[in-house]
Amino acid sequence: MTQKFTVLYFAAAKDASKAESDSFEWKEGITSQVLTQLLLDRHPTISTVLKSSMFAVNMEYMDQDSNWTVSPGDEVAIIPPVSGG
């Protein structure tokens, strides 16, 4: 059975991708670099916003300098610069 993970798009990322969420097939070794490439392959228009965005995995911000990989079933969110308040 294929394992999946989910990507959520918000604000400018949602406008650029024209999607609220996507399902991706999971494989070993999806680092932030690999994830970025997967996202660009699916939504080339997301390039600009992705550069200024952070990733959150299962509702935790991921440190951009640390090593992490996506696990099966993860909820990955693209978080453009926030502007609440």
């Binding site: 959520l8 918000f10 604000a11 400018a12 949602k14 406008d15 200024s52 959150a56 509702m59 969110a77 978080i79 453009p80 610069p81 926030v82 502007s83 609440g84 308040g85």
Partner: protein, 151 residues
């Protein structure tokens, strides 16, 4: 000690929020309300619209409250409510209300909480500007804001 956290499409009432933090042990209630301004730089703002990653926003506000309680032991109840959806000029987008035994820690906590919220909580604001052509009523463009501006 209550932590009240809401991300809601409903209009926010400051009075109702303050009532949630009232306590006979409290000598002070400090609040901050963010309200929609009618202008940004030279552009006239027609309305704001807020979007949130709701479950993460709630979790992230809870983390801020927990951190605030570690920094300031005098805090009693804390309520943080953020509106999502449309927020016309003059309407409240966020309220923070903190009760404390004495005033200093409550005032400092409110100030810290709104600063942190603006940096960390996954909520986004879209400003929709009034159009040049008042006859057609067309929007004057819109932009997703980023909180790197003047506090």
């Amino acid at each position: 000690m209550k932590d009240i956290i809401k991300i809601t499409e409903d209009i926010i009432s400051l009075e109702d929020t303050v009532n949630l933090v009232k306590d006979p042990k409290a000598g002070a209630i400090s609040t901050f309300s963010g309200t929609t301004r009618d202008n940004f730089e030279d552009k006239e703002v027609k309305t704001l619209s807020y979007e949130a990653y709701i479950p993460m926003a709630e979790k992230s506000v809870q983390s801020l409250i927990t951190e605030a309680r570690q920094k300031w032991e005098d805090l009693i109840h804390i309520a943080i409510i953020h509106k999502i959806g449309d927020c016309p000029v003059g309407e409240t987008s966020v309220v923070i209300a903190v009760s404390s035994a004495h005033r200093r820690q409550g005032l400092d906590a409110v100030s810290w909480l709104i600063d942190e919220l603006k940096v960390k909580v996954p909520v986004w604001k879209k400003e929709i500007y009034v159009g040049e052509d008042s006859k057609t009523g067309a929007d004057g463009g819109q932009v997703w804001k980023a909180n790197n501006t003047q506090p």
